[in-house]
């Protein structure tokens, strides 16, 4: 069976500046919300977000933050994999929802300096790491898991033994504002799968992994990627669809060569919109119907907010830590699960402690694009 080694990880989010910091904060059930900083709160109904509070001048937004986090997490992942910061011979695949659109907004509205060449991430990767070959994929909120699947393909095609995969996003005013306009209710926190869920709240963050052909890395593999399934609902521009999501899960299991009963942990997409939570819970119930022991399930967006393009990879990195430590963080704020999730083994109140070998990671995006990854302990 083909598998790829994950030899390095890196993450930043509102909860911490390293992957292990984020995981510890998740295990502690920490709330990562803060009052809205990026924009003037009086323009919106929603008054909170899960932002990274790293602006030089609090309350005044600045360009190229997503690029800054990207270089941070890539450097972390390379160090973790015992690789140098010279990426002249290593392809870098970046998944994102917004690219540097926040910088475009600041350029358009406030005259902030911005060059078209910095809309994608090739320039910053070239400047920092000497990266020659990089790709930016704007694949909404499944972008970084799409990038992971494409990276495994590159290794299979013999293009490279090592590929860096990343995701990054900062909050944009256009998306925050349109979500604010569209959501029927006004969520002030993200509470996936709880009857009190009111919708999605945006977060910020970045994540990166080093993916290597099995056995070719310098560092011990932290986990092994078994396969990524990816598809499109071809159904609705923004709403999820159970058939498409079910097909993506089956494609992932097929590619990985696993059966549902082998899955011990599911990192749910869990965006906290009633539509997502109901659909995802129904599909998971269906997929795992009849297995002897249902997998544990958690949803980290309850603490990180929706970190958009990088969220799938952030979930995956948290799954790597969970498999490694045998600990699964709880879904924060989950008191009374929605009816559709009644049969799911959602982790609540405190961490679950269990021996696990195989995890599934879900990521679904606008445009009906779904990506599901399967990984196992190294």
């Amino acid at each position: 069976m083909t598998a790829w080694d994950i030899t390095g990880v890196g993450a930043v989010a509102n909860l911490g500046n390293r992957a292990d910091e984020v995981f510890d904060a998740l295990c502690a059930g920490r709330d990562g919300r803060s009052p809205l900083q990026a924009f003037h709160a009086d323009k919106y109904r929603v008054k909170h977000a899960y932002e990274i509070l790293d602006r030089r001048e609090p309350g005044r937004d600045e360009p190229l933050r997503a690029s800054r986090w990207l270089t941070n997490v890539v450097a972390q992942a390379l160090a973790d994999a015992s690789l140098s910061e010279d990426l002249s011979a290593v392809p870098v695949l970046v998944g994102t929802t917004m690219r540097e659109q926040r910088s475009v907004e600041l350029w358009w509205r406030d005259g902030a300096p911005f060059e078209l060449a910095d809309l994608d991430f090739a320039g910053v990767l070239r400047r920092r790491f000497g990266a020659v070959i990089s790709y930016t994929f704007a694949n909404a909120c499944s972008a970084s898991l799409y990038a992971l699947g494409l990276a495994s393909d590159l290794i299979e095609l013999g293009v490279s033994d090592t590929v860096v995969v990343a995701g990054t996003d900062s909050i944009t005013e256009s998306a925050f504002g349109t979500m604010d306009r569209v959501q029927t209710e006004t969520p002030q926190e993200l509470r996936p799968f709880d009857v009190s869920h009111r919708g999605m709240l945006m977060g910020e963050g970045a994540a990166a992994v080093v993916l290597q052909r099995s056995g070719t890395g310098l560092a011990r593999a932290r986990a092994r990627l078994r396969g990524v399934g990816m598809n499109c609902d071809a159904h609705h521009a923004t709403a999820p669809h159970p058939e498409g999501i079910g097909a993506a899960v089956r494609a992932a299991h097929d590619r990985a060569g696993v059966q549902p009963e082998e899955i011990d942990l599911v990192m749910l997409h869990g965006s906290g919109t009633p539509r997502n939570d109901q659909t995802e819970a129904r599909v998971m119930t269906e997929v795992f119907r009849g297995v002897k022991t249902s997998p544990l399930m958690t949803a980290i967006k309850s603490m990180t907010g929706h970190t958009l393009g990088g969220s799938g990879l952030l979930s995956l990195i948290m799954a790597v830590a969970a498999l490694d430590r045998g600990v699964v963080p709880p879904v924060r704020g989950l008191v009374e699960p929605i009816e559709e999730a009644a049969g799911l083994r959602l982790v609540r109140d405190r961490c679950a402690v269990e021996r696990m070998t195989t995890a599934q990671v879900n990521a679904f995006g606008f445009g009906g694009i779904n990506a599901v990854a399967i990984l196992e302990v190294a």
């Binding site: 994608d120 930016t136 598809n231 499109c232 445009g367």
Partner: protein
Amino acid sequence: VTVVRDDIVVSGVALAVPGLAAAGELLGDPRRGDGFDPTSALAGREMRNKDRASRLALWVAEAALRDSGLLGESGTVRGADRTSVVVSSNLGNIDGVCQFTDTIARETSAGLSPLGLPQTSNNVIAGWIAIRHGLRGPNLTVCNGPASGLDAIYWARNLILMGRADAAVVVGVEPAAETVTKLLRAPSGDRVACVVLEQGAAAAARPFVRRRAILKHCGRHANAWAAAAAAACQWAAADDGVGLWLMDASTSSLGQSDSVRELPRWLDIEAHLGPCSGALGVLQCVAGVAYLDQGGPGSVLATIEEPGRGTAATLLLSSATPARMAEPLSRAKSTQ
């Protein structure tokens, strides 16, 4: 996981550039009629409530699918479940993004239209194409700078080689907009092209459909010369030489090189159309197929160099019908 060994072929092409009626016009053919007119082409029920880039892409994708023979009379696409959409666009949703921030500043978020939600991310374009034709394969949006169009073809090919899809609709699209003009620092225009890729055997098995061109090579290299050298390994195998080199002479090192005069027929599409950004690579592919359709000798090489990033993307196309040798390099002349 097994890698597909079959040729990847281009089975359908289309373009949507105001004033142009056919891909051959990119090669200097006389213009026929008024050509593409966005005002009439982008009207109709299917086009309602969508951003300009998506409407342009919907138009061109349908035309290319029809050209490939995959679009049935009833509007359904053969093999839709295993067909991918890959879009290249850098500027597709930028006008919407800027306008939404203006609206918020004036009227708060309450002034926004809910229908604008999909276009806050540039994957909106690929999403609409998938929805229109029921295309359920992997759906990918490549936003990777000037050579993004060639990258999109590369990734579409990889999806087919890795068995993730049997066919792929590849669209390069950049819309005309005031904000885009400001960001480009050059006049923007609608620049749109589409190619349909599939496995050679699948295209050959379909009645009445020519395998228009074989995708011999594509990928990224250190610069255009390295890209050409890598492609050369492939055309040496094809043994028919390069008959047409599509390049971005205005921005690449090739334009300043004496060796350019030694090349076979060469063409810089942006010299005629202005900046094409993410659409350029797909426009080059469409022009290359037109050249081969006309029986042009040799293979077609396309390169887009990004000197600032130290990289170039390339594409090598050969005719699917028996090869005709290109003229030796020393005797060939530019058609410029």
